[in-house]
């Protein structure tokens, strides 16, 4: 299937992926070097760097071979020979849109959101963050991935801690430590993977493709390793019960930070599950499936219920994120190509719609200096366009047909209904709850008579409008016409599912009539279920 030789259906002579990392990184350094006295030059440099990156990602999208399931634009160079580590990057259908999303989101955030102070450092960190995120999505080397995965922490930490709200340092530290806690396990897992793979490969390598295709682990070893990775990703996603950092981080982060955090950072976790969980440890991920499906469903419900109870609008959106990401995990661990495709779609969709929601909440805060739902009232009458924009984005988030959220969620639910029926049934209530809490929030904020303070709520400015348009356009476009996206995602996902199937020797796909896979794992043995519960409780303990 995937193999290093076959990879690279589309070959550009230009190392576009490398450029995608280097351009923002260099941009960040340049930004720092600009003069303090001329803030506009700083912003100019940052904008140029991020726009160039965006351009590059568009170019990437346009030259992507649609039908090719393998990695494209692959570039491989040895780096630390001693440890078998190389610069190995490439994209396939799964990562393509995340890269594009990253490329497009950053210029919007940089252009549209004002950090209020210390522009230079803010922009510098932003660009470094972009480089880190890009790197994570395109890495095909475990070490490289870990590297970018960790690097992302630093700028995000500083962004939250430096430009956030009152509790920013607490939130930033919590964010940092949670993620690092996960990475600790992942690092050990990565090293162990490479070291243990030596037995079957004969040499030490951290190359994802080589490991996934060539290495064989004993079942129990594979499961341990998978769990090590899974903890890191579960924190990042965040999966219940490791999600507690997210509301704090989101709420306290500056608007730009929240948008990026929701838009792309969380996807590192879900993407990681696909790329490094399923691909690398198919057997173990099938084994752990019930656990993650359960956690996903619990997350959906928990997020939804918690969102319902929030008084802070931003916190509400943050909890809705938890719920949405639960869906993505649900899709991922359904192991049907439909559901995974839906999951990938949903990653992008969530990035756009929740990003936009945070943007809007940020705008409200700019105007009112509060995010308390109870303080806001009747905004619709003072700012109808603003309310309309909010409505569209919110509906997308709920998953109303015709908007992008629907496509992803629908695919996930349909795709996993076949082999994860009961989880889906429970999870689907999350959709209803989402409608409930979002609409309720909308009602409280926008309907009614504005009181004294809300009377002066300013209408959307043209610049803000342009910015929001950039979000709403893809929301509508994808909702109406998702095919180009699906075409590009599906081959890779199918290949992945096949990979899992061949490696586990089980058929997961196209058994929608029966709940066979579930039974499959039920039949498999009682002890195994036992194991699941055990590791479940261990997961809690950790």
């Amino acid at each position: 299937m995937y193999s290093a030789e076959a990879a690279g259906g589309s070959t550009l002579s230009f190392p576009i992926l490398t450029a995608l990392v280097l351009v923002p990184a260099l941009g960040g350094i340049l930004t720092i070097l600009t003069s303090n006295r001329r803030p506009e030059s700083t912003k100019f440099v940052a904008l140029v760097a991020s726009t160039v990156t965006a351009g590059l990602s568009i170019w990437l999208l346009s030259s992507f071979e649609t039908a090719d399931a393998g990695f494209q634009f692959v570039s491989r160079h040895p780096w630390i020979r001693d440890w078998g580590i190389g610069w190995h990057v490439g994209v396939d259908g799964i990562s393509l849109f995340l890269v594009v999303l990253t490329g497009l989101l950053f210029p919007l955030v940089i252009a549209g959101i004002d950090p209020h102070h210390d522009h230079k450092r803010y922009l510098g960190w932003m660009l470094v963050l972009e480089a880190g995120v890009m790197g994570s999505f395109i890495s095909l080397d475990l070490f490289l991935f870990f590297l970018f995965f960790e690097i992302v922490l630093v700028p995000m930490y500083f962004l939250i801690g430096g430009w956030g709200y009152d509790q920013r340092i607490y939130a930033a530290t919590k964010f940092f430590l949670y993620t690092m806690f996960g990475s600790a396990f992942m690092l050990v897992g990565i090293i162990a993977t490479a070291v243990l793979a030596k037995n079957s490969l004969g040499y030490v390598t951290f190359d994802l493709v080589e490991l996934a295709e060539g290495a064989e682990f004993a079942a129990s070893t594979g499961r341990w390793l998978f769990m090590a990775f899974a903890i890191a990703f579960a924190v990042k996603v965040p999966l219940f019960p490791l999600h507690t950092w997210l509301p704090d981080a989101h709420t306290q982060a500056p608007t730009g930070g929240s948008v990026i955090l929701a838009g792309v950072l969380l996807k590192l976790g879900t993407y990681g599950f696909l790329r490094f969980g399923l691909y690398l440890f198919p057997e173990a991920s099938v084994w752990a499936r019930p656990l993650f499906l359960t956690l996903a469903v619990v997350g959906i419900l928990w997020g939804a219920i918690a969102a319902t109870m929030q008084k802070d609008l931003k916190r509400l959106v943050a909890y809705s994120s938890v719920a949405h990401l639960g869906f993505i995990i649900l899709g991922t661990f359904a192991f049907t190509s439909q559901a995974i495709t839906g999951g990938v779609m949903q990653m992008v969709n969530h990035g756009i719609s929740t990003g936009a929601l945070f943007l809007l909440v940020g705008m409200i805060y700019e105007r009112r200096q509060t995010r308390e739902i109870s303080q806001l009232k009747g905004l619709q009458s003072v700012a109808p366009i603003f309310a309309a924009a909010f409505m569209i984005v919110m509906l997308s988030s709920i998953g109303v047909p015709g908007l992008n959220g629907f496509v992803g969620e629908f695919l996930i639910l349909i795709g996993s209904f076949g082999n994860a029926r009961w989880w889906v049934v429970v999870g689907a209530t999350g959709v209803i709850l989402a409608a409930l809490y979002l609409l309720w929030a909308y009602q409280r904020v926008f309907h009614g008579e504005p009181d004294e303070e809300n009377k002066s709520f300013a209408e959307l400015r043209p610049r803000e409008g342009m910015l929001l348009l950039a979000f709403i356009a893809p929301i509508v476009f994808t909702g109406v016409f998702p095919k180009p996206m699906l075409d590009r995602i599906e081959p890779s996902v199918k290949a992945l599912v096949t990979h899992v199937e061949t490696n586990t020797g089980r058929t997961l796909e196209f058994e929608k009539k029966e709940i066979a896979p579930v039974e499959h794992s039920d039949v498999h043995s009682d002890t195994e279920k036992h194991d699941t519960e055990k590791s479940d409780s261990e997961g809690h303990g950790g």
Binding site: I80, D82, W83, I151, V188
Partner: protein, 503 residues
């Protein structure tokens, strides 16, 4: 009544000793110059000292190349080992001298003092440390240890205006002497059990002895005492009690030297002794190292978090780092497996990288603390990012590196030891180490938060960073980043330290 027999001493390979001799010459120049010429230009002592260390490093590179062709060997009646391990250790210690000299020079200016004594002590300590790194004989090792320790005691107590400094010296001295006694008793027992103090011969005796039923009590108690002594020196929990006080009380450049050169020497000695002489008894001492490593990792990190003084924090963090290095030692103990060498290599690499890191960090702490090392509380770091952005940035790099962030040397170091541990299937300890580093990360974050995100009450005009300290910090930052980004060359090189002489 002349003695009829003349004494034929062992032959001495002068070139092999050249790094040591260079240091010796440097120390003599400083002492003689200092006493003959009353008025040297300020800072010259530090430069001479740094130049001495640099010379030594250059000579080490020559030796390294020589060794690449030849095989490691033991020299001067098998008392010293000449192998890559020793040369790397020498380089590490000389780097410590080099950087610490530069910063001490500014420190002296800050304190309104002058004189070559501190530099002489640095160099003498380095000689002791280098001998420890290369010692192939327990007695030689002990003397090296004492040379190093005595110099460090004095250095710690060298600021006579600050009572804390002298208390630090006294505490360090009493506990150091105490641990030396244990160390020495251990040597005596090992000598009793094997009739040798030479590592190579001990190894031979112990490995040939396995055939008949053996009575190891004396040997094992001896090894235990030896480990206690060394654990004191490397500040592994539960023998760490002196560390926070001494690190906090000692003049900051001295602290940095202590944390770098002192640790390097003690760890190198620990590695060499345990892996060479006690190779056939790995099963007996490995658990001890394991426990020490775990305790150091956990307690070092946890206690660090509760501190409010940055020097104390870093002291505890150095205990945690010691735990990491012990991880490498533990990995090296799996002598049967093919990857035992990774333990040695990774521990030595860790020491090299940590040396640069910790000196860089402490230099900045010293600059912030100002005259008399008064301002080393966490609150004194507030607003550093505004007052001295460059310094704060450098501090951030160091702290991130200490936390083990990728693209810094700290990551390479941690990755190395974790990898070594994983290769020897010590998963539990690897995970504990990583979790400890998470707790440790919190500590570094606290400092960074103070530096970047909190503002000082009174905005005082920051005095400019003195040139030599600036140079040292810049070099350290550059090294940290370069190694972090392209570690290949270093790893290629350090892989060679695996072959120990006489093993």
């Amino acid at each position: 009544m002349f003695a009829a027999e003349t004494l034929a001493g062992p032959s001495i390979p002068w070139f092999t000793l050249s790094p040591l001799l260079a240091l010796l010459v440097g120390a003599c120049v400083l002492m003689l110059g200092g006493s003959l010429l009353p008025q040297w230009p300020r800072g010259l002592y530090g430069i001479v000292s740094a130049a001495t260390a640099a010379t030594s490093i250059v000579l080490c590179f020559f030796l390294w190349d020589n060794l690449t062709d030849g095989r490691p060997e033991t020299i001067i009646a098998d008392a010293l080992a000449f192998d890559h391990f020793a040369v790397l250790g020498t380089i590490t210690i000389c780097i410590a001298v080099l950087l610490a000299s530069l910063t001490t020079s500014d420190y002296l200016v800050r304190e309104g003092e002058d004189g070559p004594e501190l530099f002489v002590l640095y160099i003498a300590a380095a000689i002791g440390g280098i001998v420890m790194v290369a010692a192939q004989d327990l007695i030689v090792l002990f003397l090296g240890l004492e040379t190093l320790s005595l110099a460090l005691y004095v250095l710690a107590a060298s600021n006579r205006r600050r009572e804390e400094s002298q208390e630090a010296g006294l505490k360090y001295f009493i506990l150091g002497g105490f641990s030396s006694a244990f160390f020495l008793y251990g040597i005596a027992f090992i000598y009793g059990a094997t009739k040798h103090t030479n590592l190579g011969r001990i190894m031979k005796v112990l490995s040939t002895e396995q055939a008949f039923p053996r009575n190891d009590v004396l040997l094992l108690v001896g090894v235990g005492l030896l480990l206690v002594g060394l654990a004191f020196k490397v500040a592994a929990v539960p023998f760490q009690v002196w560390t926070p006080d001494v690190y906090q009380g000692a003049p900051t450049p001295v602290t940095s030297f202590m944390a770098s050169a002192g640790k390097t020497a003690a760890f190198a000695a620990l590695l060499r002794v345990s892996v060479t002489a006690l190779e056939s008894r790995v099963d007996d001492w490995r658990p001890v190292v394991w426990v020490l490593a775990v305790l150091s990792l956990v307690f070092g990190s946890v206690l660090a978090v509760t501190q409010t003084n940055v020097k104390r924090m870093l002291a505890y963090s150095s205990i945690s780092h010691a735990g990491f290095i012990l991880l490498g030692v533990e990995a090296a103990s799996h002598t049967g497996s093919s990857s035992a060498g990774d333990g040695i290599a990774s521990a030595m690499t860790y020491l090299l990288l940590y040396t640069v890191l910790v000196i860089g960090t402490f230099t900045i702490v010293g600059l912030v603390a100002g005259k008399g090392d008064v301002g080393s509380n966490l609150t004194d770091f507030r607003g550093l990012g505004r007052r001295r952005p460059a310094l704060a940035l450098a501090l951030t790099v160091f702290l991130l590196a200490q936390a083990g962030m990728p693209l810094t040397s700290g990551f390479v170091a941690k990755f190395g030891v974790i990898r070594a541990a994983v290769e020897t299937k010590s998963y539990a300890i690897a995970i504990i180490a990583m979790l400890a580093s998470v707790i440790g990360a919190f500590l570094y974050l606290r400092i960074m938060v103070s530096a970047w995100m909190e503002d000082a009450e009174g905005e005082d005009a920051a005095p400019p960073v003195p040139f030599l300290s600036g140079l040292a910090v810049t070099a350290a930052v550059a090294f940290t980043l370069v190694v972090g980004i392209v570690p290949g060359w270093l790893l290629d090189a350090t892989r060679q330290v695996v072959t120990l002489a006489g093993r």
